[in-house]
């Protein structure tokens, strides 16, 4: 594999630029992050939650949540670090989270409950993840996507992938024994096994650059639909709440178990349009890595957690079911828009990004 990223500097991520508001709640959150008082935030949140048709597809609330989480990740340029624990922001986050979680719990159907043993849990997870069907983004990309669509695909993916693995890392100190060792084994691989240039998010940044896209964290947040934010926000919800450690584990297991095969198609999609290893490295890496990760995630991580804490079984299944539901929405969105002859982005890519 090419050594594309020789120095650490090439893989550093800096705090992102604040996004543009999509409604009253996100506007107030952004005002507060810019140094405002945020007096009105809580009533605005209540009003928005009371009026919203579907909190999981609402641009305003999902962007607000994205910003409320980002202060715990890489943060925003110019926003003081101590706002991470602002009581006003935390209260708003918890209030939105409560409704998001309730809607998620109502939206997914849990599979029949397996015995709380590692082997039975792994088998149940393999069963639900292989039943995964629906319109396949991976197949469309491999067969017939245009260059423009492949660039949009990278833009949509970048919101999560530039912080790949981070949401699930919150779970590490909340686990112990077999499950903890398994999670660290997976995450160590995600974070390059000691080599900064092999951190998966850094490899993905290289893929973006090879298509002339901006690899800065958050560069394209304003262009992606709510469902892309929802996918990341769901992971953050699970990762940042200790009581949901079963769900974050189930989520990671399902995520890894549905990844190796699509990544083979993604790699083929870029090869079909003549892109080389610098572009496809990320996807090729995931074919091999995720075939390893899915075994560890199903048996040692999810299975090991349930064996140690059987009362978390339902939440492990819940987390897996949520991943299968929510993480499929960005792909559905892209396929629908492209089928209608439209862009999947909220606004066109800036011209300067098309330099490649």
């Amino acid at each position: 594999m090419p050594a594309l990223l020789l120095d650490d500097d090439a893989v550093l991520q800096r705090p992102m630029v604040l996004p543009v508001a999509r409604g009253p709640v996100s506007a107030e959150v952004l005002a507060l992050l810019r140094g405002g008082r945020g007096h009105d935030l809580q009533p605005l949140v209540e009003a928005a939650l009371a009026a919203v048709a579907d909190v999981l597809r609402d641009d305003d609330l999902q962007l607000a949540l994205f910003c409320l989480y980002e202060v715990h990740y890489g943060g925003f340029a110019g926003v003081p670090d101590d706002l991470e624990w602002s009581p006003v922001l935390s209260a708003a986050r918890l209030r939105i989270e409560r409704d998001v979680e309730a809607v998620l719990r109502a939206a997914v159907r849990l599979p029949p409950r397996p015995e709380p043993t590692a082997a039975a849990v792994a088998e149940a997870l393999f069963a639900i993840t292989s039943a995964e069907s629906g319109p396949s983004l991976a197949r469309h990309l491999a067969r017939s996507a245009t260059l423009e669509q492949l660039r949009e695909f990278l833009v949509q993916r970048s919101v999560y992938t530039l912080k790949e693995a981070d949401p699930h890392s919150w779970a590490i100190p909340r686990l112990s024994g077999r499950a903890k060792a398994a999670l660290v084994e997976i995450q160590s691989d995600e974070y390059g096994g000691g080599r900064p240039g092999r951190i998966h998010s850094a490899i993905f940044a290289g893929t973006m650059r090879s298509l002339g896209l901006d690899d800065a964290a958050g560069a394209y947040v304003d262009l992606v639909p709510a469902v892309v934010l929802t996918s990341l926000n769901t992971m953050s919800l699970f990762g940042l709440n200790r009581r949901l450690r079963g769900a974050v584990v189930g989520h990671l297991a399902a995520f890894e178990m549905t990844s190796a095969v699509p990544n083979r198609f993604y790699g083929n999609a870029f090869r079909r349009l003549g892109f080389g290893e610098e572009t496809t490295w990320y996807f090729d890496e995931h074919v091999e890595a995720d075939a390893v990760h899915e075994q560890i995630a199903a048996r040692d991580l999810a299975g090991g957690l349930v064996a140690a804490e059987p009362e978390l079984l339902d939440d492990v299944l819940f987390g897996a079911a949520v991943s299968l539901l929510v993480d499929g929405w960005p792909g559905e969105h892209m396929l629908q828009r492209w089928a209608a002859g439209e862009s999947s982005l909220r606004a066109p890519l800036p011209e300067e990004a098309a330099r490649g």
Partner: protein
Amino acid sequence: MVDRVPPVLIVACPDGPLLVRGEVEVRTPDGRALPQRRRTVALCRCGKSTIKPYCDGTHKIIGFRTEPETPED
């Protein structure tokens, strides 16, 4: 007594690959080392992977099944 931890451990994953943990080198018949990009690797045993000898998840698509292993006591 402490359980002996073997230097290399191979987990036979039901209906899937052989998961190999520990210091091993996979070589071609003429002795050249194959690239090993991670500490733990999955060796294909369904025969259908596109990145053999490593597993790429294809065993799930072809419905590969293994006999239940009988542990020795």
